[in-house]
Amino acid sequence: MALTPLMEQYLAVKRQYADAVVFFRLGDFYEVFFDDAPPVATLLDLTLTARDGGEGKVPMCGVPHHAVQGYVARLVKAGKKVALCEQVEDPKTAKGLVKREVTRVVTPSTFIENDADPSSPLLVGVHRIDQQWGLASLEPNTGVLQFWEESQGTIADALERLAPSEIVTTKALAASDIMQQYCATSLTVVVTRLDDWSGESTESVETIRTFFHLNSLRALELEAVSTAAVAFVLKFLQGHMQTTLPHIGLPKRLHLGTTMMLGPVVERSLELFRPANPDYRGKTVCDVLDETLTPMGGRLLRVWLRNPLLSVAAIHHRQSAVEEIVQQPMLLEGIRTALASFRDVERLAARFSARVATPKDAAALRDSLTRVPEVDRALASVAAPLLVAHRQQLAVDLSVLQEALVRALVEVPPLHLRDGGVIAPGYDAELDRLRSLASDAKQWLADLQVR
């Protein structure tokens, strides 16, 4: 008795992605086998069945392919990684076993296709050399990559304040007391363990240089331990996203001391984001303050709340912008009307960057870019320096792209590319010809039948 070829194929994939749940595409379903199956069945409320694997029954459960995103979202929320293993050749033309490959590994911080949750899951790389710890944090929506160092005494607090959804570090460090302690307090954090030699310095430098096409890292002012931390993050992205990611910014040093440290104790006692009593759905400070109209505004508000300023000048800048808007009701209304139908442009940019954008995403980007001049007009007569600066940022010329999107896409494209109906007529001559050929021919046939 031997395992069936299908199971062999599955196990080969699973060996490569041992720390993820493997969703194995079989016909119209994604199936989960062996040890993955029982916990997934419980988590997702699926029926646990079995399948003949050649050496006996193999436990399995599955989800229909068109509904996979929702299930993946739930697994990721529960702190699991999901490797999507697709059929990469047409089953109709395949000889023997259909070729399959993992095209995507979904984790909390790389799940940018997820529409349902606009929040910011932080990905943090951690390394230690002697008594010094290096940290690199990536916000996947904005692509902002920051690094800094902590001491043995401050690292535990730093991790608690950061509250990452995902950590990437070496196997050895993942087993250390500090990391074990953090994982014990945050049960859904996903930890990716790299081989211990990954922190080696020439390796790290090379990873960063090639990712960003740099000749030297000198201008970044990294230390040895933060170099490794940044490299871990980049390695993680390369392993899980399998494309280059132009929306990721150059790593920048986070200067501690430019904003006030709050921390989870203060956040809790002031009920900033969560009510003190989770059973009683009370209002939080964020609930009262959050009247933002765009998802990126919502995320930024939370960042500002967690990082109060320590510079009087910077505070005055924001205040005078707010004051100008407060004193001019027309200005306030103009801005809010212009912002009202803006989509999550930050996240859309990230999706295009990761090559997972859908036709609907393209339409959303088109629609939002078309609204930018309206915001600019609303800000036409502002005087506050901060608002003037923002207006200048908005003046960035995206007209060529915007025009291309308008001309290329139909008004309301479908979600998937596979059935067509995405590109508008008049954009490409050959496409128009083929389409009319197809519809003409059908018409000719109809006429023929009359004859």
Partner: protein
């Protein structure tokens, strides 16, 4: 067979033109194709396929164009995000009637008519009682708030911190006027006093958090301490609270601006004895043997704990509360003096022998 064909029933067989090629014979009919038909068949089947494939590559090309402009898109997105938040602050300020606070580097916090941003929306603006706060690093460095729970003292503490926080994120604040001197860090040691089951921390945890605060507070920090010493015996708790207060106003220490709320009204004493400490309480009226909380902060110390009144309000049996009042009277008549004022010029603990001091014994004389 695949493809298009013309099916002609046998009755019409004679009419079949010469250029029709027979492809399939059925029982009652025959199927033909013509060159024209074949040509169109090719076109239909393949045109659709080719159109789809072309669409896909056109879309891919479009996506590439977007990717080329990712940085520019991010710049626009981040500007939109900031404008959104600033307009959001303005919107809330107008709707909730916030004011622009004066923010400086001076070591003060002066708030006139301060309100709690969340509680005021739950109670309605006219019902919420606004309060002033005057903190500096001089005579009002540590505001000692003695008042029972439910008097409004926890809300007062939190709203002070929140007004400072709002000011330092650049927003307007829920107050009539505010002058906020920059705070480098906000420390809180506030139990979730409304929820004993979930929020009650052990005394040990309380002490760990307090230790962190005392070790890290600087001259520019703001401290909010509520009910320190609650998790242990009265005399221990009182002693610890008192020692912490002395530490915080010690002229050789950081002397951070502090709001210290406690139910130990024994901690209060004439202002001149401990410089920097100012006594405040929450106004309470007794009406028909009941206690009415006015939620107004007033200068001076609470002259009693009102603990028994709170117990009555909570519904403790009358026999229990009446007996408690008797015991209290007895304690007060014995003149128990739990805290001795510190000797002038001496730092450190004020109690020589804390271990020996019990609730019912007299303090030792100097």
């Amino acid at each position: 067979m695949f493809g298009y064909y013309i099916e002609i029933s046998n009755t019409h067989r004679a009419k079949v033109p010469a250029d029709y090629t027979r492809k399939q014979t059925l029982a009652n009919a025959e199927r033909f194709i013509t060159p024209e038909l074949k040509e169109y068949e090719d076109q239909i089947l393949h045109a659709e396929e080719r159109a789809l494939s072309l669409e896909q590559s056109l879309f891919a090309r479009l996506c590439e164009q977007v990717v080329q402009q990712v940085r520019a898109i991010q710049t626009v997105a981040s500007a939109i995000a900031e404008v959104d938040v600033l307009a959001c602050f303005a919107h809330v300020a107008v709707r909730q009637q916030y004011v622009r606070p004066t923010v400086t580097e001076e070591p003060v916090i002066h708030i006139t008519g301060g309100r709690h941003p969340v509680v005021e929306t739950l109670l309605g603006r006219n019902t919420f009682i606004a309060n002033d706060v005057r903190l500096d690093r001089g005579t009002q460095q540590l505001l000692l708030l003695t008042a029972p729970n439910m008097s409004g003292k926890s809300v007062y503490l939190r709203q002070t911190a929140l007004i400072v926080l709002f000011a330092q994120i650049g927003s307007f604040v829920p107050a009539q006027a505010a002058h906020i001197g920059m705070v480098d860090r906000i420390f809180t040691r506030i139990g979730a006093s409304d929820n004993l089951a979930l929020g009650e921390s052990t005394f040990a945890v309380e002490m760990i958090e307090t230790a962190q605060i005392l070790n890290y507070a600087t001259t520019r920090s703001l401290l909010l301490l509520d009910e320190i010493g609650r998790g242990t015996s009265t005399s221990d708790g009182l002693s610890i609270a008192r020692a912490i207060i002395e530490f915080l106003v010690d002229p050789h220490g950081p002397r951070p601006r502090t709001l210290f709320a406690t139910h130990f009204h024994e901690l209060t004493e004439p202002q001149s004895l401990l410089s920097g400490v100012a006594n405040f309480t929450f106004a309470v009226r007794e009406w028909k043997n009941e206690v009415v909380f006015l939620y107004q902060v007033i200068a001076g110390a609470a002259d009693q704990s009102y603990g028994i009144h709170v117990a009555k309000l909570a519904g403790l049996p009358r026999s229990v509360t009446e007996r408690a009042e008797d015991i209290l009277k007895g304690l007060e008549e014995k003149g128990v003096d739990l805290i001795r004022p510190p000797k002038r010029g001496r730092r450190g603990a004020t109690l020589d022998n804390p271990a020996q001091l019990g609730l019912f014994s007299r303090a030792q004389d100097t």
